[in-house]
Each structure stands twice: as structure tokens, then as C-alpha cells.
């Protein structure tokens, strides 16, 4: 079942609040501290005697380390220690595992493999002195040829980047394949229309406003390590530290305090964290490491970097038959992709999109290059951004060839509601969907026909206006533990709920907000299930000593996995409350009826007890039903049976100045469906943020390199992020198609807009350039690249 609602009216939104006990628009519990500047971010933490760590990085992309002289740095009066890779190697700590079971150098020992790789670190009494001392370290390098062009990484004469790996004779990481190659080939051979295009998703970076960092504090006597860290996944980090460094897990406490945005950038474990832990261990004092902005952009988890050869087969009438692709994936110098182990290409397999196909096939080759490691970040839902961008771009190329309207072509091919659950030709089971109403709603909100008329008139006058459409299906909520794990850790999530005697509650999560509003939405989930007002529910997260195990917040998994856990643990507590209520009201359990917040005797609503009454009885002096323990609390671990599949229809309207090639995004209409909504205000916020990301990626951003491997995007002057001037006032709407397997029908929403918006923007720009005969142009569509395209000189960005 799908319900549809128009976009909220901002004027109404700012009206006086009703405070729902459960789902609905509710102001955030985290805001009162954040608007007073009383948040507690990692760099806000000051401990007695705390030292500061700074990292020396390689100026070269590929070079052998001949010698390192740290004597001058060590002589600096405020320097406490200078550590090199050789020092770490003595302790067996020079290398660490990545989240993809590869290895990554903590500090380079033999050679550096990307520009800005970690080479040594300084610990000093203050942050300025630590930086000063970096200048005093003298490293001699022997330059090696770098591998920068991904297309040449597998050339027979390419330099071998990972000669640290035994027997490694090339730069190949993995081959991956999905779908049925022969069946797809058969469909393509007989198809009336085949369209091919090389589609590039350049390397980009999530660039959260707060960079990555940590404070490590090892207590000398007990050996207890406390690590305050910018981590989206504190439990996973703790276990990895235990496995890597051999520290006993119960002696490690990872605390992720307030986090200033993550977007996937704060999932991996970075060398800086390990350096800080080692420093605190060796020196016996707390040590802080905070990246500067350049370090963040040039060394931590990048995203995308896929070269995708896409093909689509269809009938002349526009029935899409099959899609296939060959992908070349640039993973940088270490394979640091944070994806479930069995999914080296993430969830790229959903490249079949939202369409009912006869066949599909994709194969991928991933390679090492002399660039920073990473690969899954920037709200991509494990490579779904790449998959959706590819299919939505090639569908537009097909519309171009067929001279069909791109919205009409999509409407003709969307999976029908009666086909759900729908199994794609690559084996993904879409849980629920009702696509056409979302598409129609977006078109209505946009005034689609009117926009096309306006465009036709403008084209007559030589003006450039474009209308871009995208329809996406996301796959979020990783994931079923039989299929999905990271470094052997199943992707389930725990949740604990404790109701205090006075009916107030505390719920403890394994996931961790980076701005998504967990303190509010998880209180709402518990409130919805048990009727305690959200303001009476404390949400504890981001502290491994005080929360149950789980894999953290990324891939839009908090609501689908941990949100389900919160609902089910509350139902477990409510079941116990019902037994206690039956004793209090002296009726059988079956004779009780639940209305939010209280149990009443069926047929006699005057006889009832509230959850607060029950909580007091659970802890009180009175008798409880026989065999029942006191207390009112429960714990569960939720293992999702499937992913959830949110979807949406986006329309972008752009104008291009023919004289300067400057693109203005005039309007952006986004209709999203994330199933049952917990807090529409927060959902709208999640969508808005992702839409801005889409404009950034489509028009402004790229982590580019020169031929020597110098990173050309090392500051926010070179790597552009949309401001309030490049972004329009977003127009949002939603439909509601609940997930059939999620306890309350919710799906994830955190990354839908980042996934769905880049193709809408690019499709709009390419549509505007139709008078120039343009069918495809690669991101980032900066004014200079749009201008070149208009002159017939479009070049791929990599």
C-alpha cells in the first residue's frame, strides 16, 4: 500500500509544535546543546597533560625511502617523541588490516605509495610545536614511476605498487561479476536498439566539516585504553584494535562523542588513530591527533573513481530489455573499501535500477594506483551511487537515441507494484515499491509538461534550459548476517532498553549519529512502541562500554537495522509489562488490550494501568505474577532478513548561460519513499543534504591528480563544496510504501538523495545542451567543462 502526500509547507512547519508520543514532526533533543555551542566534539576534549600529535606525509606519490633523520626534530624543546615506520615495525605495528582484508601502512617503512602517505609522527607539548617539528625531519626519497592513469594500471610494464605483498607481480586487486553474461549477450544480439556509453564517476571526497581525529589515553597501570574518536562505528573499531594490536577487547573503550558529519568518511580506521594509540601507550600520557583540512582531503576515505562502460538494449518502442557494464575501479594504493566482505564491489549489483529487465550482467576489475586509499564513502550506500548514476545516465542516452521523453521512457519501464517483492536479474530482492505514483507526483510538482513547453520556446530563442529526470532504487540496511560481514563481524545490531521505576527510560544503541538525529528518532521509536514520551527517554550511543555491540552508522543502516532492534526490544519489554499488568488488574494476559501507554481490561477501559504504573510495580514491593523476575528491561540483537529498498523520483531544472557556460540549478524537485516515516522533519533534512551533495558532485567536485600523482584538490579552494548560492530552495514530497519485513515498515533515507541527485543534475545539463547534439558529458560539469562540451571538445575527466 502506498500513500502520497504533497510537500510540506515551510510556513506551517515553523508553527508551534505538538509533541507526538511516537512518530511525527518533533524538534530534536540534540539541538539545545548544539545551538549553545555546548556540543562535545573530539577536538573539544582537553585532558590533563595531553600531548599533540602531527603526521609527516610524503610529498611524492611513489618513492623508496632511503633514510629518515629525526634528530633535529627530537632536539626541539617541546617535542616528546618522534616515531618512524621503522620504530613501529619493531613492535609489529607498521602495517594494519583494512576493512577489505588488505593491509595498509600505518607509517611507511619501505616506500611511499601515494602523495601525502604517513611517514613519521611527532608528539609535542602543543599543536603548534608538533607542526614546527615536522619541518625538522629530513627524509631522503628515491623517486619511482607512479601509476596514476587507472587505464594503464594493468599494463605489462606498469610499476608494481604493492611489492610488499608476497608474489605480487601486477596492480590487480580483484575481478567481480554478477548476472548472466550469456543470457544478456543473447538479448543484446537480438535487440532493435543498443546504446553504449563510457560513463565516469570521478573520485570525490565526503569532506565532513569536522575532520577526522582522536584522543587516545592509555592508563599505565591497568592498561585501559580510552579512545575518543570520530568514528561512525565505535564497536567495529574496538574489535579491530583488539584483533590488530592484540589489546584485550575489554580494556578498550571507544567513545564517539558529537561528530561533525561523517558521510562515510569516518568509517575506516586511519593510521592517525593507530599512531595516537601507540604514542599514548609509549609515552603514558593522553595524545590528541586532529587532521587539518588538507590531510582530510588527500589521505582519508575518498569515494567513487569508477570508469563504467555501459550498454542498454531496448525495442524501438522504448521497452528496455537489458543493461550491462564493464567497470574499471580505482582503489588507490591500499584496498581500503569499507564494504561487506562478500561484496567487493559493494552493492553495485543494483545497477539494473528500477526497471523490469530480461537480462543484466556486469563485470568489474579493481586495481591499485598511487593514490590515497578508500573507495566507499560520501553517502554512497556501498557503491549504489555509481550503479544508479550509470543506469540513469544510460537510460537518458537511450531516450536521446529514441527521441523519447526521458520521463515517459522511465514510466514505460518501471517495475509494477504487483511485481513486488521483485527479484532483479542480478539477484536482489526489492522488498516493496510503488514507483509510478512517485514519478507522477514529481512530474506534477514540477509542472513537467509546462516546463517542456517553456524549454521549447527558449530553444527557439537560443536559450539553454534543461530538465533532468532520475528514478532510483536504493538498497540499504546491511545486512543479513548470513551474507554480510565486515572483517568477519556480522552486520547485526544490538539494542538495550531499561525502564526506570518512575517510568522514564534509557535506550542504548550500537549505532552512532553524525548529525542524523538518533537521540530524537530512537526516542520516538521507543515512544511509539510503549507510549513513554520521547523527552522521558534517554538515548545512549557512541560509547562501547555503555552500549551493546553492533556495526555502526553508514550505508543508511541505522533505521533499517538498529531502528528495528529498538522497536523489537521495546515490544519485548511491553510483553513483560503486559504480564505485570495482568497481575495488577487481576485478569489474564489475554484479557488485556494495549492502547499507547497503557493496558486496559478488554471491554472495561476504566480498569487500566499505565506503563509508568507498571514500571513502578516492576521495581516495587508488591507481588509480581508467579515466576516473573522484577525489573523492566530487555536486550536484543537484530539480524535483518533483507535489505530495505527506498526509492524516489527526482527532477532538476537548469539554465545555462550560453556566453559563459555557467549552470544555474533553478529548481530541484525530490519525491522520496522511505516507507513509514519516524520524523518527517528529519527525513526532509536528510534529503536536502543529499541533494546539495548531488549538485557538488555533478557540477563542482573532483579529487584530481596530475601525471606525477600530485593531488590537485587539497583544500576547499580547490575542492569545491556547494554554498547557499549554488543550491536552490528544494521542493520535496513523499510517498509511503512500507517495508514488509521491517518491524514498523521503515526504510533508510540517509543516502537516497546523494544517490538520486547526481544523475538528475547531469541529465538536466545534458538536456540543456541537446541543441549542440550532446548525448553525454562527464562530471564534474564545471563551467569550463560545459564550455568545452559546447565547443565539441568534451574530454573524460580521467
Amino acid at each position: 500500500m502506498t500513500t502520497t502526500e504533497p510537500a510540506p509547507n515551510p510556513a506551517e512547519e515553523a508553527a508551534e509544535e505538538e509533541r507526538p508520543i511516537g512518530f511525527g514532526r518533533l524538534l530534536r533533543k540534540e539541538d539545545p546543546r548544539l545551538i549553545r555551542g555546548m556540543g562535545n566534539f573530539v577536538d573539544d576534549i582537553q585532558l590533563k597533560g595531553m600531548l599533540h600529535l602531527a603526521i609527516l606525509r610524503s610529498p611524492m606519490a611513489h618513492a623508496r625511502i632511503v633514510s629518515i633523520d629525526v634528530s633535529a626534530a627530537q632536539a626541539h624543546p617541546k617535542v616528546v617523541a618522534v616515531i618512524t615506520g621503522a620504530d613501529l615495525a619493531e613492535q609489529g605495528l607498521a602495517w594494519m588490516p583494512t576493512l577489505s582484508n588488505d593491509t595498509q601502512a600505518v607509517l611507511a617503512t619501505d616506500k611511499v605509495r601515494f602523495q601525502h602517505q604517513e611517514v613519521a609522527f611527532v608528539v609535542a607539548e602543543d599543536r603548534y610545536s608538533a607542526r614546527d617539528a615536522l619541518e625538522l625531519i629530513d627524509v631522503e626519497y628515491e623517486l619511482l614511476s607512479p601509476v596514476i592513469n587507472v587505464r594503464k594500471a594493468l599494463d605489462p610494464d606498469a610499476p608494481i605498487i604493492r611489492d610488499d605483498l608476497e608474489g605480487k607481480t601486477d596492480n590487480h586487486i580483484f575481478d567481480w561479476e554478477t548476472g548472466d553474461e550469456a543470457a544478456t549477450e543473447a538479448v543484446f544480439l537480438n535487440a532493435e536498439v543498443v546504446v553504449s556509453e563510457e560513463i565516469i564517476y570521478p573520485r570525490v571526497h565526503p569532506a565532513p566539516m569536522e575532520t577526522c581525529g582522536c584522543v587516545a589515553d592509555v592508563e599505565r597501570v591497568s592498561g585501559q585504553l580510552t579512545l575518543w574518536c570520530t568514528s561512525q562505528a565505535p564497536h567495529a573499531h574496538r574489535t579491530v584494535y583488539a584483533l590488530v594490536a592484540g589489546l584485550p577487547e575489554h580494556k578498550i573503550r571507544v567513545i564517539a562523542p558529537d561528530i561533525g558529519g561523517g558521510f562515510g568518511n569516518k568509517v575506516p580506521i586511519y593510521p592517525g588513530y593507530v599512531c595516537a594509540i601507540v604514542a599514548s601507550l609509549v609515552i603514558g600520557k593522553p595524545v590528541k591527533w586532529m587532521e587539518d583540512r588538507t590531510e582530510n582531503l588527500v589521505s582519508t576515505g575518498f569515494a567513487r573513481d569508477y570508469v563504467m562502460k555501459a550498454q542498454i538494449a531496448a525495442t524501438k518502442e522504448g521497452k528496455i530489455l537489458a543493461v550491462r557494464s564493464e567497470v574499471l575501479a580505482d582503489h588507490g594504493a591500499f584496498n581500503g573499501v569499507a564494504a561487506p566482505v562478500k561484496y567487493p564491489a559493494g552493492f553495485f549489483g543494483v545497477f539494473t535500477g528500477s526497471y523490469d529487465l530480461q537480462a543484466a550482467h556486469a563485470k568489474m576489475t579493481a586495481v591499485y594506483t598511487n593514490k590515497a586509499p578508500g573507495g566507499v564513502a560520501y553517502a554512497c550506500s556501498f557503491r549504489i551511487t555509481e550503479a544508479v548514476y550509470m543506469v540513469e545516465r544510460i537510460v537518458d542516452c537511450l531516450a536521446h537515441e529514441l527521441k523519447m521523453d526521458p520521463a515517459e521512457l522511465r514510466l514505460k519501464n518501471l517495475i509494477k507494484p504487483e511485481q513486488f517483492p521483485y527479484t532483479t536479474k542480478t539477484g536482489w530482492v526489492y522488498d516493496s515499491g510503488n514507483y509510478e505514483p512517485a514519478m507522477r507526483m514529481a512530474m506534477d510538482m514540477a509542472g513537467y509538461e509546462e516546463l517542456r513547453r517553456e524549454q521549447a520556446e527558449k530553444r527557439e530563442r537560443g536559450e539553454l534550459m534543461g530538465i533532468g529526470v532520475s528514478f532510483f532504487t536504493e538498497a540499504v540496511g546491511a545486512g543479513p548476517r548470513k551474507d554480510m560481514d565486515i572483517l568477519g563481524l556480522g552486520m547485526a545490531d544490538g539494542c538495550e532498553l531499561r525502564i526506570h521505576p518512575t517510568g522514564k527510560a534509557v535506550v542504548r544503541l550500537s549505532v552512532k549519529t553524525q548529525g542524523q538525529g538518533h537521540e530524537t528518532t530512537f526516542a520516538q521509536i521507543v515512544a511509539e512502541e510503549i507510549g513513554i514520551p520521547p523527552e522521558d527517554i534517554e538515548v545512549v550511543q557512541g560509547d562501547t562500554d555503555n552500549t551493546p555491540f553492533g556495526l555502526g552508522t553508514y550505508g543508511s543502516r541505522s533505521t533499517p537495522v538498529s531502528g528495528a532492534a529498538a522497536a523489537l526490544v521495546t515490544r519485548k519489554v511491553r510483553d513483560k509489562a503486559q504480564i505485570i499488568a495482568s497481575g495488577m488488574l487481576e485478569v489474564s494476559v489475554a484479557d488485556l488490550e494495549w492502547t499507547k501507554g497503557s493496558f486496559a481490561v478488554k471491554g472495561d477501559p476504566s480498569k487500566s494501568v499505565t506503563i509508568q504504573d507498571i514500571a513502578m510495580r516492576a521495581h516495587g514491593a508488591g507481588d509480581l505474577p508467579e515466576g516473573l523476575e522484577g525489573g523492566l528491561e530487555a536486550q536484543i540483537c537484530y539480524n535483518p532478513e533483507n535489505l530495505t529498498y527506498p526509492f524516489g523520483a527526482y527532477i532538476c531544472v537548469v539554465d545555462i548561460d550560453p556566453g559563459t557556460a555557467v549552470v544555474t540549478v533553478r529548481r530541484f524537485i525530490a519525491v522520496d519513499d522511505c516507507g513509514t516515516q519516524i520524523n518527517p522533519m528529519i527525513i526532509e533534512g536528510q534529503v536536502h543534504g543529499g541533494l546539495a551533495d548531488g549538485i557538488g558532485m555533478a557540477m563542482m567536485q573532483m579529487i584530481a591528480f596530475d601525471e606525477d600523482g600530485n593531488c590537485l584538490a587539497g583544500s576547499l579552494m580547490d575542492y569545491l563544496i556547494p554554498t547557499a548560492l549554488e543550491t536552490p530552495d528544494w521542493e520535496t514530497g513523499h510517498t509511503v510504501t512500507p517495508s514488509p519485513h521491517h518491524p514498523f515498515g521503515a526504510k533508510g533515507i540517509g543516502e537516497s538523495a546523494t544517490v538520486g541527485s547526481p544523475p538528475a543534475v547531469v541529465n538536466a545539463i545534458v538536456d540543456a545542451l541537446k541543441p549542440y547534439g550532446i548525448r553525454h558529458a562527464d562530471m564534474p560539469l564545471t563551467p569550463s567543462r560545459v564550455w568545452e562540451t559546447m565547443q565539441g571538445n568534451h574530454t573524460p575527466p580521467i
Binding site: R36, G37, Q46, M209, H688
Partner: protein, 161 residues
């Protein structure tokens, strides 16, 4: 060297190195950690504070340059337990998510409304265009500042009648 300034109405007098950035002085020396640091290059604006009422990026200002001036940080917006309407607006209109850019955004908004009590959407967007938010996509920030402007207009009309 010695530096004297007024921060949120309080006189401060501190010993600093001449090279100390204002953002580090405010955060590390005064312990006012509501002012954040984000980029080194004055592009992101998360470090914005008001110097004599004007929004300034404290990552690109030496602490010494602030000597003798009036500094307002986010901690100075709430007066005697009463929130600034800009703070209320950000809460009511979901103008923040992670909250990292928020202090700088709010201070710029405060400076804007002091000069222009009824700014248009275009004027608001221009005013905050030197600052970056990665979470909100800006629409709700614009709404938040409108909300504050509306509240202040109502209050001032009320006091005039």
C-alpha cells in the same frame, strides 16, 4: 605577548605567541569550544565569530589582531538564560544536523539581522555564502533565519505599540 580583548562581555587578558590564531586562542586558551575549526583557508566559515559586530573568520585572524576589540562567540548569544531568536529559529526550522557549522552560521545570521531586520531569501543566501554546511543543503538554514527575523519583527512591533 600580552593581548587584551572583550569576549562575550568579559574582559580577558592573556599571554600568547604572536602567531596564535584567534580560533585557537578562543578554543584552547579561553576554553570556548563552541567556535569550531574546519578548513585552514577561510573557505568553510565554521570558525566565524563577531568582531565588533562583524562576522570574521577566526582561523584567518591572529589573536593579536583582536586585541582591543569586542568578540562575540556562540556562547555569547544566549543572554541571562534567554536564547537569541536566531538560536530558536535554528531549532524550530531544523537548521542544523551535526551542529558543526551552526555556531558560525548563527553568528553571521545575527550580524545580518542587526543590519537588515527583514532580509529576502536572496540576501540571506548571500550573507551565508562564505560558509559551508554539508548536512542541511541550506534551505532550512534560510528558513531558520527568516523565522528569527519574523520573531524579532513581531517583538519590535509589539514594543512600538
Amino acid at each position: 605577548m600580552q593581548v587584551n580583548m572583550t569576549v562575550n562581555g568579559q574582559e580577558v587578558s592573556e599571554e600568547i605567541e604572536p602567531r596564535h590564531l584567534l580560533v585557537h586562542f578562543i578554543r584552547d586558551q579561553l576554553g570556548l569550544t563552541g567556535t569550531h575549526w574546519g578548513c585552514d583557508t577561510s573557505n568553510c566559515g565554521t570558525c566565524v565569530v563577531l568582531i565588533d559586530g562583524e562576522p570574521v573568520k577566526s582561523c584567518s585572524t591572529l589573536a593579536a589582531m583582536a586585541g582591543g576589540h569586542q568578540i562575540t562567540t556562540v556562547e555569547g548569544l544566549e543572554v541571562d538564560g534567554e536564547l537569541d531568536p536566531v538560536q530558536e529559529g535554528f531549532m524550530n526550522c531544523h537548521g542544523l544536523q551535526c551542529g558543526f557549522c551552526t555556531p558560525g552560521m548563527m553568528l553571521t545570521a545575527r550580524a545580518l539581522l542587526n543590519k537588515n531586520p527583514d532580509p529576502s531569501e536572496a540576501v540571506i543566501r548571500e550573507a551565508i555564502s562564505g560558509q559551508i554546511c554539508r548536512c542541511t543543503g541550506y534551505s532550512t538554514i534560510v528558513r531558520s533565519i527568516h523565522w528569527a527575523a519574523n520573531k524579532e519583527t513581531k517583538v519590535s512591533l509589539g514594543s512600538a505599540s
